[in-house]
Subunit: 227 residues, 2 copies
């Protein structure tokens, strides 16, 4: 059903485990995935394959991600390639450097890439609106990322982006408790200017729309989805 063969993604990271893990997830959704373990290799592959999206680790030996990005931006043939940085580093100057070098997006690198899969899907969707994203069914809830709506017992419900993302996150691991920090990290992406209580409001609105029974509060810890 999924067919995203026309979308080429290049992942660049010197951490092989992370690389293979992310490759696996994206290949499952039929994207055409290329990998590179160093900045040099990345530039060679980028020139050869002309991918629509490059996911770049910032901290690499020899040539770091920011440097790679600069080279890409100098190459007119790669002018409309989207560059998305991944980094372990919290320091802001890195983030600024990343944008100055022409990066398009910046994601704090999670230990497990699947945490940000939905974020990457959104980027890929922006590049190619026709790309196919999977539909998830948990119990009597269906999440349709294509149409950006959820279906509960044949009833279609449209959700605003944040509420949708919130539900999607909780549903990514039913039963598992997500802390407020995790939620902020994943959906608001380290934007610590946003206050914690914002989450509560969105949870409240979500419950109002989809019913009380799905999202449970675990006091002092966070929220979880129960299917």
């Amino acid at each position: 059903m999924l067919n995203n063969k026309n979308l080429k993604v290049l992942i660049v990271d010197d951490d092989d485990e992370f690389l293979q893990d992310l490759r696996h997830h994206l290949q499952k959704e039929k994207y055409q995935v290329y990998t590179a373990a160093s900045g040099k290799e990345a530039l060679v592959t980028a020139r050869k394959e002309n991918p629509q999206l490059i996911i770049l680790d910032i901290n690499m030996p020899e040539m770091d991600g920011v440097e790679v990005c600069r080279h890409i931006r100098e190459n007119p043939e790669l002018s409309n390639t989207i560059v998305c940085f991944f980094t372990n580093c919290n320091e802001n100057y890195t983030q600024i450097a990343a944008f100055e070098a022409g990066g398009d997006d910046y994601i704090t690198k999670p230990l497990k890439p699947e945490v940000h899969l939905s974020r990457l899907r959104a980027i890929l969707k922006r590049i190619d609106p026709d790309s196919h994203v999977p539909i998830t069914i948990i119990g009597d809830i269906t999440i349709d990322r294509e149409k950006f709506l959820i279906i509960i017992k044949d009833e279609k419900i449209e959700l605003p982006r944040k509420e949708f993302e919130l539900l999607e996150l909780l549903c990514s691991k039913p039963g598992r408790v997500f802390s407020r920090d995790e939620i902020l990290n994943s959906i608001w992406n380290k934007d610590f200017t946003v206050i914690h209580r914002t989450i509560d409001v969105h949870i409240s609105k979500l419950r109002e729309k989809i019913g009380e029974k799905y999202i449970k509060t675990v006091k002092g810890i966070g929220y979880k989805f129960e299917g």
Copy 2:
């Protein structure tokens, strides 16, 4: 099932027995464990392996834990490493020095490391929310740390944080008697403003929820769990 290979933990302690004991417990949960017997060795290993968590004994000859921590904090590559101190010492000035040196957590060193396993798990969970924590099954009680609930004979019971922690502690060694001091130390972390009676109240509420038969009182000593 457990796979926490992506999480590197460095334990630093000159007491070899404690070191090996804690190493064993963490390795059982598949964390990637490194050890060091001195401050110098710790810094070398830390630079080489870049662990996400360093567990540091404060009282060591030559270079003490606080000193090691200072060096770690000066190294930008180790900037987002979590440092957790372990110490025999009750004296407050040490604790203050530890935080001033950039420590993230401070645990009074127990005689057996397993007493603080759950605390360490919580820290590791904070670092990597997707890290797997074990599900414990003792007799007809199942403790699911992932979903934050316990199951007794197919019945799910949600417990408030302190009650959950209390049960978890007692269950960590069924049959073993935990003194009030140990319990306070582990769950309330040396917060001596809390009165001993508090434990009784929580025990009482726990028994009310999970039934009488599991938690036994050992007069004059403390409490134990019987499976």
